[in-house]
Amino acid sequence: MTLAVGQAAPPRTFPPFTRTDFVKYQGASGDFHPLHHDETYAHSVGFPSVFSVGMLQAGLLATYVTDWLGVEGIRRFKVRFVEQMWPGDELTCTAKIVEVDETRGRIRLELRADRQTGNPALVGEAEFITAAAP
């Protein structure tokens, strides 16, 4: 694959988030904050339901871009958290190459993960080494 500025990955929408997705991620990561699995606790602190772990959608965005360019070549991944994800929400990821630095052998991408409302849940960026690109 030839990598050029402006090139975009095909968008990917993950299936609607379930409470099971949250619990699977919490078990895998070791983050057992009750806001993400304990409905009684979530209600008691004013939330309408449990909601996703921010790092779950960050992990899904990383999956999206590393499944495209190959995980072995990633050298930087950064996200900013914008909106929460709730049960039933769908996350759609997009990525675009914004810089190809032949000297350093790096490409830089802008990343975005939107809720089904069109509002971003996350915005971010990533760098890969060009040598690892497929």
Partner: protein, 141 residues
């Protein structure tokens, strides 16, 4: 101060499934970690007395997770490696909140070294303590 972060095979596979990746590099005898798995070091292995989060001393009821960044200085770590992690607090500052009071910011930087002491990866986490009480629309840490 530092602590060990063993990259257990089963945990790497479990994390890869939780973030829904089927990339072949996460399979086989020595799967590479999904990039954001570095976050598990603090969650599972960090001794309480080395907690940068505790050092920030933010009010837990007013905390937001602002940003996360992962930097890899070479190939990604793999299952079977034992990394050594150490965390420091950097970049602390405050600014006025939109609804009055002060917002406080802090960044936790965790460095990960391999068995030879080489810096292989970094995690930078920006944590925000909001000025007011939490709102239902805001992210927790």
């Amino acid at each position: 101060m530092s602590y060990e972060f063993p990259l257990d095979y089963s945990k790497v596979r479990e994390f890869a499934r939780a973030v829904k990746t089927e990339h072949p590099s996460h399979q086989g005898d020595a799967p590479v970690i999904p990039p954001t798995m570095l976050t598990s070091a603090r969650m599972i292995w960090e001794p309480a007395d080395q907690s940068g989060f505790r050092e920030l001393a933010f009010d837990r009821s007013r905390i937001l997770h602002g940003e996360e960044e992962y930097i890899f200085h070479g190939p990604l770590p793999r299952a079977g490696q034992v990394l050594t992690a150490s965390t420091r607090v950097t970049n602390r500052y405050a600014k006025p909140g939109r609804r009055g009071g002060q917002m406080h910011f802090g960044t936790l930087v965790t460095e990960f070294r391999d068995a030879d002491g080489n810096l292989v990866a970094e995690q930078h986490s920006t944590i925000v303590e909001t000025a007011g009480p939490p709102k239902a629309a805001e992210e927790d840490a």
